[in-house]
């Protein structure tokens, strides 16, 4: 099917729905942000009550259904998952649905910031309920028309059918009557075994336009009268513009303006000089001709070596404890069998395939923004408070995102575009070059971990993990409260370990650095997972236990069922018990964003002695789920990205600047390096967990544990060169 006409502006959507009888438009009113308590309303009722509706579904008189997706689509599949949930309860086929993006509006849509693998798990109940409510109203309208009892009728595939007579109405024939009804409360939701759409690997509705060039990304936005801007950005993170010479730039045809601009990155302003032109090419050429002098005196110019030396020094300091149980240090001291290890993980760039960009148009007190955006509601608030305009005067229009991974959940690149539009009094598209995107950050913070553990009779008697890393939260203030621990210390660590290891401590020392850092797919779990699951493996080896069995022995107990089931499934998929002596097998299990993932990796060496990853097995437990094929795709992609950060790329710093500028230096995993990946999804009735991120953290430790199994060599520093193992 074609999705060319699937874009519908919200304005049209609501106008359509507000015309009494012309359509059934249903959604909910948000009392604050509590989704569970949301009141489901028709557009008509909302108009009467004078409240604005968070509209999700609109059915017009022709029976055409439109569903709004309130989350960003950056590849993770919200564009499919949200309609798939609504369609299930509404009893329609997804093939006849138009899907639109809801623009950013927090008071209407609740949190739209798409991160933390949260779309399904935060909204599934409300979305199911909204679909079911519309369905019940359509059935009620049909029953009234036929003058029959409501329970004699049912809905199926866009029709309400009267069971005894076989009479039926299409939804379009019912919207006029249904729109006048009061939405019933406490509608009955379908049981899971009744699902026809949820839980099925349906093809994504956005994909037909992603194979023919029609999907609109941020860089494809064109606004009448739009100018292009590229910004010569300070190569050092907090550099200020001392002066600039734009005489050569201004000679270039098409260049209209050269202005200083800054963008807020946490508590700091990142400065640059923008070249604004009537074509992108002219702006790019103009930037090349620009000369800027920077003032870099107010902050440190760090090298990677200095930074990691500092983190290691920090490990000697007293740490801030997030979670402690028992008396781990005393147990460790008294123990006869001690293990300790230090792990290092790198800084990373997000490097979305679509470089950052944003289009903005400031018209007096009104602001309109278009772009690849993960946090439309946050951007609305940010622009509103900085520019002192009312939030409802800030419209944030969503495009598809060419990758996000956390970077496009920030507000710096959008505000910069707003400032430039205001300055030139015209719509402007700010385009980041790949070099801007790779060198400017914020980056995933690197981290160094010191792990200590003790063993007795093959069991862990104490476990201590101390992390030295930049604390992202400390960046919000120039003088942060440095006594607050990093609340992500235990992120990624499978929770059931806490029930089986009595003496433990997780703590951190916040490392100081002017390098901007932020969330990167799976956030601290992406580095924590490597340290903790490598260390569990070291403990297993010291205990002379099979690493899979050792994990089972430390993840069982009352709340351990899901963990044991995952490990057993991995054992079954890999035929773990019968693995050959000369094979290299590694396993790891991590938990984040309410999902648990276990992965096993098989490695071997070819005749030339070169290491090869033969296969990766992943078992994902994300509880109740919507689309298994999207889940598999997300786990596959997470593994590829994890492989990149484990063995391919790293952002280095020298003299206060990022060293790698483009893909020739910041290398990416390529198709020839990627092994076969087999993903299994657990079936259970647990609450839904995240899907986009949890597959990432277990890969690096599982790979390194496999290399240990094959070679006896422990890899404790990422990234490593797979050709030199």
């Amino acid at each position: 099917m074609q999705t060319t006409d699937k874009n519908l502006s919200r304005r049209n959507f609501i106008r359509l729905g507000s015309m009494t009888g012309a359509a059934l438009t249903i959604g909910y009113a948000m009392p604050g942000l509590a989704n569970e308590a949301a009141e489901i309303l028709t557009a008509q009722k909302a108009v009467e009550k004078g409240i604005e509706l968070t509209a999700w579904i609109s059915i017009d008189k022709t029976g055409k259904v439109t569903i709004l997706n309130h989350r960003s689509e950056m590849g993770q599949g919200s564009f499919q998952a949200v309609p798939q949930m609504i369609a299930e309860e509404l009893e329609i086929s997804l093939d006849n649905v138009n899907i639109g993006f809801a623009p950013g509006h927090q008071s209407k849509y609740g949190s739209q910031s798409t991160g933390g693998s949260s779309t399904v798990r935060s909204a599934y109940k409300t979305l199911l309920r909204t679909g079911a409510t519309a369905r019940e109203m359509l059935i009620q309208a049909a029953a009234a028309k036929w003058n029959v009892k409501k329970n004699e009728s049912y809905a199926e595939n866009g029709f309400v059918i009267h069971k005894p007579s076989g009479k039926k109405f299409g939804y379009g024939e019912l919207v006029e009557d249904a729109s006048k009804l009061t939405p019933p409360k406490d509608v009955k939701l379908k049981r899971r075994e009744e699902y026809k759409i949820v839980g099925k690997p349906l093809a994504r509705q956005d994909n037909p336009n992603k194979i023919n060039g029609k999907a609109e990304f941020g860089l494809d936005v064109k606004i009448p009268g739009m100018m292009y801007a590229v910004v010569e950005r300070s190569p050092r993170f907090r550099g200020k513009v001392k002066s600039f010479d734009d005489s050569a730039t201004k000679k270039i045809t098409g260049v209209k303006n050269v202005v200083k601009v800054s963008r807020p990155v946490f508590a700091y302003e990142c400065e640059g000089v923008a070249v604004i032109a009537d074509s992108l090419w002219a702006a790019l050429e103009g930037r090349k001709a620009l000369k800027v002098e920077w003032d870099d005196s107010a902050f440190e110019h760090l090298d990677t070596e200095q930074l990691y030396a500092r983190m290691k020094e920090d490990l000697k300091k007293t740490s801030l404890s997030q979670r402690t149980g028992g008396n781990p240090e005393a147990v460790f001291q008294k123990s006869e069998k001690k293990v300790d290890a230090v792990y290092e993980t790198p800084y990373e760039s997000h490097s979305c395939m679509e470089p950052l960009n944003c289009t903005a148009h400031v018209k007096g007190h009104k602001v309109e923004i278009w772009g690849p955006i993960q946090a439309p509601d946050w951007i609305q608030q940010d622009v509103s408070s900085r520019l002192k305009v009312a939030p409802e005067n800030v419209t944030v229009n969503m495009t598809f995102l060419g990758g996000g991974f956390g970077r496009k959940a920030f507000t710096d690149y959008t505000y910069e575009a707003v400032l430039l539009s205001k300055e030139i009094n015209a719509p402007v598209q700010v385009v980041w070059t790949r070099e801007d995107d790779t060198t400017q950050g914020p980056f995933r913070p690197g981290a160094v971990y010191e792990c200590k553990g003790s063993l007795s009779n093959g069991r862990i008697t104490s476990l201590q993990a101390k992390m030295a890393a930049q604390n992202m939260n400390h960046q919000w203030s120039p003088v942060p409260d440095k006594t607050s621990f990093n609340d992500s210390d235990i992120e990624g660590f499978a929770a059931s370990y806490f029930d089986n290891i009595t003496n433990y401590s997780f703590s951190d020392v916040p490392t100081e650095s002017p390098i901007p850092v932020m969330w990167w797919r799976s956030v601290y779990s992406s580095t924590n997972g490597f340290a903790y699951e490598s260390f569990i493996d070291e403990l297993a080896a010291a205990a002379e236990k099979d690493p899979l069995e050792f994990r089972k022995a430390h993840l069982g107990g009352e709340k351990g069922e899901r963990y044991i089931a995952i490990l057993e499934k991995l054992g079954e998929l890999t035929n773990w018990k019968d693995k050959k002596k000369n094979d290299g097998w590694g396993v790891a299990i991590t938990e984040c964003f309410s999902s648990i993932v276990g992965e096993a990796v098989k490695v071997s060496k070819n005749s030339a002695g070169k290491l090869k990853i033969d296969k990766v097995f992943a078992v994902m437990d994300c509880g109740w789920y919507v689309n298994p094929d999207i889940i598999r795709a997300q786990v596959e992609g997470s593994i590829v990205m994890a492989y990149g950060a484990a063995a391919v790329h790293e952002t280095h710093f020298a003299d206060g600047k990022a060293v790698e500028t483009n893909f020739h230096q910041y290398k990416m995993p390529r198709i020839n390096e990627i092994p076969e990946i087999e993903v299994h999804i657990m079936d259970n009735d647990e609450k839904p967990g995240g899907v986009g991120e949890p597959g990432l953290p277990p890969f690096a430790p599982a790979l390194c544990n496999a290399i240990f199994d094959l070679t006896g060599k422990r890899i404790r520093k990422l990234p490593f060169n797979i050709n030199e193992v």
Binding site: T433, Q634, E636, V640, N662
Partner: protein
């Protein structure tokens, strides 16, 4: 004074040239700086947005188009060297998503974010034209220049094999 102004306006100008470009069977008459990369000509002057900017230095393949049937990185190819040749972009692969590679891409549900996929598809289509039944090694060689940050590589490999089968069936 007049001469001075003339010189000034000349230095302000790119050395613009006029080109007749054949893109997807249609002729586009464009005025462009000869060194302007074909990518920007396709996107900004021809208004075809399916071809993507990824790196600007032929490292990622997001800008892959066909020049006389061969895959090229349009981000480093000056427009001057593309004139009088046949250019095909993703928009020209088929009118209705029916090229075997497109069908296979849907069958295997390859795209995630989708940004790199125009380039991936153009590289794969060129591969299959040259080698109708590619081995894994052939696929590696042809696709190693195309980055996908979402990590759709396992599905790309599968889809290329599916497309090869579809094409073989269609020609039988």
């Amino acid at each position: 004074m007049v001469i001075h102004n003339l010189i000034a306006s000349f230095t302000k100008l790119f050395l613009m040239a006029s080109y007749n470009l054949s893109i997807n069977g249609k002729t586009y008459k464009v005025e462009a700086d000869p060194k302007m990369p074909l990518l920007w000509v396709i996107r900004e002057l021809a208004g075809l947005h399916g071809t993507k900017y990824g790196c600007g230095m032929a490292q990622c393949g997001a800008c892959t188009v066909h020049l006389n049937g061969n895959p090229v990185r349009s981000c480093t190819l000056p427009v001057s060297s593309a004139a009088k040749q046949t250019i095909t972009t993703i928009e020209g692969l088929s009118d209705d998503n029916t090229h075997a590679v497109q069908k296979a891409w849907l069958a295997e549900q390859v795209p995630q974010c989708g940004y790199c996929q125009s380039g991936q598809i153009m590289a794969a289509a060129a591969l299959l034209k040259r080698i109708p039944n590619p081995t894994d090694q052939d696929i590696d060689n042809a696709m190693v220049g195309n980055i996908c940050r979402c990590g759709t590589y396992p599905r790309i490999r599968k889809a290329i094999k599916t497309a090869a089968q579809m094409m073989a069936k269609a020609s039988n």
